[in-house]
Subunit: 335 residues, 2 copies
Amino acid sequence: MTKKLTIALDAMGGDNAPGEICEGALRACEQFEDLEMILTGDKEKIKPCLERASSDTARRIRVMHTAEVVLMNEQPVTAIRKKRDSSMRTAMEMVRSGEAQGCLSAGNTGAIVAGGVLVVGRMPTIDRPALGVPLPTINRWTFLLDVGASVRSKPVNLYQYAQMGSVYSKKILGVAEPEIALLSNGTEEIKGDEVVMEAREMLLKSSLNFKGYVEGDDVPWGRADVVVCDGFMGNVILKFGEGLMQGARSIVEEEMGHRFMPKVGMLFMISMVKTLWARFNYEKYGGTPLLGVEGTVVKAHGRSKAPAILGALSAARNFILKDGVENIRQELETA
Amino acid sequence: MTKKLTIALDAMGGDNAPGEICEGALRACEQFEDLEMILTGDKEKIKPCLERASSDTARRIRVMHTAEVVLMNEQPVTAIRKKRDSSMRTAMEMVRSGEAQGCLSAGNTGAIVAGGVLVVGRMPTIDRPALGVPLPTINRWTFLLDVGASVRSKPVNLYQYAQMGSVYSKKILGVAEPEIALLSNGTEEIKGDEVVMEAREMLLKSSLNFKGYVEGDDVPWGRADVVVCDGFMGNVILKFGEGLMQGARSIVEEEMGHRFMPKVGMLFMISMVKTLWARFNYEKYGGTPLLGVEGTVVKAHGRSKAPAILGALSAARNFILKDGVENIRQELETA
């Protein structure tokens, strides 16, 4: 028999909760036979969303009722501290107690980070955890971090992000010798601000496969396996990329509406837009692991629908199966 | 008779100098009858590039021989200080002496900024000049600054960028009441780092039409007329946008090569790619004015070919005709 694994899912987090979140959970259980899930949230609202479950799936999904919800714009630390009966905090407590091997939420990003630190626990070797995203690029998958666990970073934080990113790339994404780079305003040595420059010095002395600086256009071209930046920068460029691709898509769709185009032209156009969208849809990266905490905590995009939740659950499962937390701990202890 | 205006052009700056630079100058003279130009650089290399000029155009282009060139990766301040006979510095000296009303270079960005401050002169009311770019977005042109005159900024610098951006948007781009925004990691009040938060407080008290924070995806959607950030951030997102659009284009072209596609489908595809490219080609923004110095100094992209040089010359001409420098001086003095 396959070994089972359990993921706690915050069914109330995100713009499309609980409907799309529950549907994502159903699809994940259908896809992964080893998966068991605990859905935290308002049971009256969750139950109807699970009605279509087969008996096998239903057997593997448990609903844990919670009375509170962390709102999207709430002050993160306060929300996690005070809303002890919230769906998000309860999912995290499942990880701390060992009832679940990991948890997922599409809710308030700051609160997920705060919960990761306060409820699941920060690794003693890590000053600050980081949110990382595997991004599709022209050449390869590039793991970008931090995309918003912190705002600004010290050199030591960037250094630790590089260490964690290297482990993620190697162990989870399967890259043999991940190339690590620091995001800067130019590739030359004289570029960077003081923080980036000092992090560069630290990384040059480390055992990591450090390639120096990359620039903004090196990210979509995939010129490194791991790109390290502070959370302010990571947040802005990730959202900028999302907006740019959505914008491009809306222009193409509008043009397709305006122009006379024979059906065959239209068909090719649609397939091309789909190809491009599949390659560069920065919104569908599927799951953003919080690295540097004592358990598997994954964030999904706030706008996630069922396919993105399925993707994020798949990422969380993968992280658990490949011992992500243990691998990061070992790397940080031996470095 | 039309009033003449003179622009000094660094014919040796950029990856495609002097050929594409000179060709851009010829096209600008052909397009604008009021334009006279001084091309600075190695006359032996420049002359052959101007051979195709009509007699009218030739009459309006003067070559000023210089023996030195500021290289792309040279330390900017040292290069400007020491290479007194460089094409870049000489073009700037034409502006200081009044022989030219403005200058343009596609060379070393840092050196253009250093030359703007040291040769043309910084406005006494401005702590640091800024490079701004009018970006095409879904809704409107958005003027983004700083895109790399400085690395990091203090709150007062961001505040002054907002003032200068507002003037540029109003006087040069013709926006009646430009909406000004600060780029941040979220739209809520609690977002931002300390610098951005303090700049926000200053801007809320100003007479500018300040709308608060915008996020990364608000830039391509065009949710403000002027978006203010520090030069590190501006540099990274501008290049990231360039790379993403180039990457998207290369995927489409590759797909078009692979797929069987009837000619009619191909034609529609090509026209669509062109539409998209024309809308979002971040490389062709045509000219990046250096704001906060005592003369018209415009930077063109280092990879500029003739059409981009033409665009940048057109931007410089426009800035001169609309009294850009004087308008910024007045705004800063009366604010």
